[in-house]
């Protein structure tokens, strides 16, 4: 379904060229729930932006449902069924939650449908419909609305960039259930960048990205124990205690 072939992304800085993504190849199959994880600064968000078209690769190609989309714009990719929830969503003065969800959906959404999406991300819906997506909302609220904006679409692949960031642990469990249902009922494939074990538990496949490269990838049952084992051995505070 989605195939990245030898993708590279290099930026120029004062010390010369800096390799952010270095020859990454991977495939996300139809119907799969894939989690990308790895240390901060490893290139995960850049990879998501390259798939959405927000950044253009300096090498390699991206194939989506058999079409080479490497040179396509964000708009064209969106129309093909790719969606992306920002890690830090922008705010809009004057744009209501209802309008934003309708824009995501592609047509005016009935109130009850809007409410259903908001309820799914843990927001008491009627209170929010006519509120503006501006600085009056907290970071966690904006983040939930961002997730709801992807629920309002029917996508071939939905990409979420650290959806857990800024959301309190109390409501995180409910959100995990939303993600679980999403892959079954809403979108064909789901790709989530996450550090949360509970999100990783939902995955069919896990990809670990570090230093711009794929360090390992495979089915969850294979990668997750490996990952948890690594954390355990790194956390030597336990032995010090």
């Amino acid at each position: 379904m989605l195939e990245l072939k030898n993708i590279s992304f290099t930026v120029d800085n004062s010390d010369g060229a800096l390799e952010i993504i270095d020859d990454v190849s991977l495939t996300v199959d139809e119907g799969k729930f894939t989690v990308i994880t790895g240390p901060n600064g490893g290139g995960k968000s850049t990879l998501a932006k390259l798939i959405m078209g927000i950044e253009k690769p300096t090498g390699g190609s991206i194939i989506f449902n058999g079409t080479d989309i490497t040179d396509m714009s964000i708009t064209q990719r969106a129309k093909l069924g790719i969606g992306y929830a920002f890690q830090q969503p922008p705010r809009f003065k004057g744009l209501t939650v209802r309008r934003l969800l309708s824009l995501a959906h592609g047509s005016e959404l009935p109130e009850d449908e809007c409410c259903a999406y908001l309820t799914n991300v843990g927001l008491c819906s009627r209170e929010y419909l006519n509120r503006e997506v501006d600085s009056s909302l907290s970071g966690g609220e904006v983040k939930r609305i961002e997730i709801a904006s992807l629920l309002a679409r029917k996508l071939d692949i939905a990409i979420f960039d650290e959806p857990e960031a800024g959301i309190d642990l109390w409501s995180f469990t409910a959100l995990v259930n939303t993600f679980r249902a999403m892959n079954k009922n809403v979108h064909s494939s789901v790709l989530i960048i996450s550090h949360q074990e509970r999100i990783m538990q939902l995955a069919d496949d896990i990809i670990i990205i570090a230093d711009g490269k794929i360090r390992s990838k495979g089915p969850r049952d294979e990668i997750l124990p490996q990952l948890l084992g690594e954390f355990d051995s790194n956390c030597d505070f336990r032995t010090k205690c």
């Binding site: 927000i54 964000i74 129309k79 920002f86 922008p90 003065k93 004057g94 309008r99 824009l103 592609g106």
Partner: protein, 306 residues
């Protein structure tokens, strides 16, 4: 209202599709084109200069006055004086507005001088829309001047909108607030082409516990120029907030000069001003919904000026 252009202008400036309910006065090409007074709202023609007096009886509730002005001829140049006397305890909606359709090569100009005398405990909502169109090369000029004298514990909300087609505007607003009076001014402005707009607002908070808020949002496109000069002057125990927010595009120029002054130690006055282009992340977000960059830009501007 047989004429198509008349209807279009009336809809743009006063949301009018038909003869409004309540009191109204329609001025067309410098002459009266319809008027109705009601039991509580009396509209009379001034005898010493062009314009009307609108007298709203004390205690009038939930009534409205529409006073649109339309100009469909080239070469009209008029100054009109409208005075509103709003009785104590009244609660009314006043819809003004001016639409110019200039078909020729001469300038058409309407300068409206509006004075509001708001009684004690009265509530007024005032909506003023300005709009220009027309295939001619003649300039479309609107220079509104507004004076508000707000008596004790009155409440006035003014929404002033100029979205399209006015080549030149100089807007001058002055307000004097007595004890407990409150005033909210919301200004929305968009300029394009070679248009020029200037808005001066001066609010004098003279009474104890008076309060004021000025919210100005604007978008400047093409080669247009805008200047904002809102001032809040606190002369007593009072609160005021001035907020100017502008989106700058293309080769336009914007100056924003909010001024706050206090002449009393218990005056609390705040101002904020920002000018910037459309946030790139906002555009990207809307493009990930499948909108083109141009469509995304329009939606952001529409929302901002709403």
């Amino acid at each position: 209202m047989e004429n198509y252009i008349d209807n279009e202008l009336l809809e743009a400036v006063a949301d009018l599709h038909e003869i409004p309910a309540g009191a109204f006065n329609i001025r067309r090409n410098g002459e009266g084109a319809g008027r109705r007074s009601t039991e509580n709202i009396t509209i009379t023609t001034k005898t010493d200069k062009p314009g009307i007096d609108i007298r709203i009886a004390p205690g009038t509730k939930n009534e409205s006055v529409h006073i649109p002005v339309i100009i469909t001829e080239t070469g009209i140049d008029e100054t009109v004086y409208n005075d509103f006397y709003i009785g104590d305890g009244a609660d009314v909606l006043i819809v003004a507005g001016c639409g110019i359709h200039n078909p020729g090569s001469s300038k058409s100009e309407h300068d409206g001088v509006h004075r509001f005398f708001i009684g004690k405990n009265a509530r007024v909502k005032y909506v003023e829309k300005h709009y220009g169109q027309g295939e001619g090369t003649g300039e479309r000029v609107l220079n509104p001047s507004t004076i508000v004298e707000a008596d004790e514990n009155s409440c006035c909300e003014m929404e002033m909108v100029q979205i399209k087609g006015v080549d030149s505007t100089v807007r001058d607003t002055k307000a004097y607030l007595k004890d407990g009076a409150s005033l909210v001014i919301t200004e929305r402005l968009m300029t394009h082409g070679n248009q020029k707009a200037r808005s001066d607002i001066e609010i004098n908070l003279e009474g104890a516990d008076s309060s004021a808020q000025i919210v100005s949002r604007s978008v400047a496109r093409d080669n247009s120029e805008q200047i904002f000069y809102p001032r809040a002057i606190g002369k007593n125990v009072c609160r005021a907030h001035v907020q100017c927010d502008s989106i700058i595009m293309d080769n336009s120029k914007i100056r924003s000069i909010p001024e706050i002054a206090a002449q009393h130690s218990e005056a609390q006055i705040v101002h904020e001003a920002a000018i910037g282009r459309i946030n790139n992340d906002q555009l990207l977000k809307l493009m990930t919904f499948g909108l083109s960059e141009e469509e995304a830009e329009e939606i952001i501007i529409q929302g901002f000026l709403k």
